[in-house]
């Protein structure tokens, strides 16, 4: 059993110039946990995700992955840490000039010594995992939004990541596709043992997959609740959290 948290965030303050988005964030994510970052629109959830995946440097505070400080590491070390993550962006963020096959092949050619034939086999396997077998030669513009999202997930999983980050995975999906994606996230967590961090405000998904969560408040600019989504729903006394989780005004 690993005792070091997979992700450890301490005293994190995020800001755009002089404008503080969130401050004094302290939380950790255990290995194999599905961790939800929730909160109302504009509270800084996606900004926090951008900090966690190494796209933005904290104004104050530390982000440690497996005990290794992301921003005290050298650029090479940081790139190595970041390459062990998989990120699914809201719209899939597939490279539009490349086919799905080329999108998934890029990280494999950059970070492994696999032969082209082996890469094609991995691509076929990854696409079959997300239900897109046979769509290797399609361009992102030729498939639907939901398929783009699933193809984005296949790309995020290309290197068998240790941590999978999802930015609003259910956004733009119909309820059935959203439910299937939730199931897929849980399957991947259970079978690969990957840690999953999700930014979401889709209540159904939050309750279906979340083991642990934090709630960010845009006015206090910090975490106002921490715990499993179900526990927060049943026992939180904070009206802002309850309003959010009960969909009341």
């Amino acid at each position: 059993m690993k005792t070091t948290p997979h992700l450890d965030i301490s005293n994190l303050t995020m800001a755009y110039g002089d404008v503080i988005i969130q401050k004094d964030l302290n939380f950790s994510v255990k290995h194999g946990e599905v961790f939800i970052i929730m909160g109302g629109s504009g509270c800084g959830k996606s900004t926090l995700l951008r900090h966690l995946v190494g796209l933005m440097e904290p104004s104050i505070g530390d982000i440690c992955v497996n005990g290794q400080n992301l921003w005290q590491a050298s650029i090479d070390e940081r790139n190595k840490i970041i390459s062990r993550n998989g990120v699914l962006y809201q719209g899939g963020a597939l490279w539009s000039s490349m086919t799905l096959s080329e999108n998934i092949a890029l990280p494999l050619t950059e970070y492994t010594d696999l032969q082209p034939k082996q890469i094609q086999e991995v691509i076929a396997y990854k696409l079959s995992l997300v239900g897109l077998a046979g769509f290797e030669d399609y361009y992102p513009s030729e498939i639907s939004g939901g398929m783009r999202k699933r193809a984005g997930l296949a790309r995020a999983m290309a290197l068998d990541p240790e941590i999978l980050f999802f930015d609003e995975p259910s956004a733009g999906l119909d309820p059935v596709s959203s439910r299937l994606l939730d199931d897929l996230i849980l399957e991947l967590r259970d079978s690969l043992g990957a840690t999953v961090v999700i930014v979401s405000h889709e209540l159904a998904s939050i309750f279906a997959v979340g083991d642990n969560s934090i709630f960010l408040d845009p006015e206090e600019k910090t975490i106002i609740a921490h715990g499993s989504p179900k526990e927060l729903h049943e026992s939180s006394t904070d009206q802002r959290v309850l309003r959010f989780l009960n969909r009341t005004t």
Partner: protein, 377 residues
């Protein structure tokens, strides 16, 4: 009986069928075994069924999974049952997931080379579609213009002023640099030849006429095609990608009136002014070379231009600039509105706008030059 063994696997056969014993790490970075040779070994035996022994298996990643997917697919084709329950739970779940949604019929694309005739046919159809689109665009533009004349065109004057500023004053620096250099080049090339005949003073005629009638308008148009025409295509193309143009259409607002018109008017108004500026700058460039290389004073140079380059030549250049302005704006906006729905399509639209503009500029220049000859001006 052991058929084959290596540090990663062992193939054993018994009355219960074939047992594939997996051992060690199956990771991409630890040289996984050759999948094809294992498969060939297994299929050669044609066992009744296949089961696994994974108690020596340590770390694994997609390397093992791709092998198992391949094995299962081959076994299915050869009707060999595989006992998946003998695999670790995580692997079982991933395999279930990989085979849960079968490949959609007809989804796979066969990449075949196109016959030459089919290629020619496709290019012809594409050209026909392009011309039809262009004609439709010009038609819409014409109706937009009629609406504008009747004061019914729907666009914001703030957009028009912004576009005028972006196309005019913001372009002055690059126009200055290029025009002065063009004037200097014309003068330098002419100086070498005219000096041989002792006719250095005619350098003023050469530069004045060249800039006023041809080069001022042409260079301004080419700069604006690369600078403003490409920007128009990229702006409208990005709006197409973000569905902003669809949003305008569903509100009943014509993108031609709202987006194209301010840009077209802006270039029509600024291009003649930029052309006058470019003419003047080019003439100054010529004056610098004349003064430094040929000992012709600024006074002599400008007096020569005043005497021998009548204003009609400047008029022709300015008229050309106006026409080029319409062409650059039309090509930029047309390519932008024609843009596909991806980032690469935006790049293609910008490139295509520049190429189309330059071709149209050269063709229009040739036509105007011939017409001027016919009219005798």
């Amino acid at each position: 009986m052991t058929i084959e063994t290596s540090d990663k696997y062992q193939i054993n056969t018994s009355d219960e069928g074939l047992c594939l014993e997996l051992s060690g790490d199956w990771l991409f970075n630890t040289n996984p075994p050759d999948f094809d040779s294992i498969l060939q070994q297994i299929l050669k035996i044609t066992p009744e069924k296949i089961h696994f022994d994974c108690h020596k298996l340590q770390k694994w990643d997609s390397s093992l999974m791709t092998f198992l997917v391949k094995l299962l697919t081959n076994c299915k084709e050869n009707d060999i049952p595989v006992i998946l329950e003998t695999l670790p739970k995580g692997i079982q779940k991933l395999l279930q997931l990989a085979f849960a949604i079968p490949e959609r019929k007809g989804a796979h694309r066969a990449i075949l080379g196109q016959p030459v005739l089919a290629k020619i046919g496709n290019v012809t159809i594409e050209m026909h579609r392009n011309w039809s689109d262009l004609l439709a665009f010009v038609g819409e533009l014409f109706f937009g213009f009629l609406n504008f004349l009747r004061g019914r065109a729907r666009f914001r004057y703030s957009d028009l002023f912004f576009q005028i500023e972006a196309a005019g004053p913001s372009a002055l620096l690059i126009i200055t640099l290029i025009s002065v250099l063009i004037g200097m080049i014309l003068a330098f090339v002419g100086a070498v030849q005219l000096r041989m005949f002792g006719a250095e003073i005619f350098i003023a005629n050469l530069v004045g006429l060249g800039m006023a009638r041809e080069m001022g308008a042409m260079m301004t148009a080419i700069i604006m095609a690369g600078r403003t025409g490409a920007a128009y295509a990229a702006q409208l193309g990005t709006m197409q990608v973000n569905e902003e143009i669809d949003a305008l259409k569903t509100m009943g607002i014509s993108p031609i009136e709202f987006l194209v018109f301010p840009r077209l008017l802006a270039l029509c108004l600024t291009m003649p002014l930029l052309c006058i500026y470019a003419d003047f700058m080019g003439i100054i460039g010529g004056a610098i070379v004349s003064a430094t290389m040929l000992d012709i004073s600024f006074f002599q140079y400008f007096q020569q231009i005043q005497g021998f380059v009548p204003l009609k030549h400047f008029g022709i250049g300015i008229f050309k600039a106006g026409v080029f302005g319409v062409l650059v704006a039309t090509a930029g906006c047309f390519r932008g509105l024609q843009c596909g729905r991806s980032a690469s399509a935006v790049g293609f639209a910008a490139t295509s706008a520049v190429v189309t503009s330059i071709v149209l500029i050269i063709v229009a220049d040739a036509i105007i030059t011939i017409l001027c000859q016919l009219i005798g001006i």
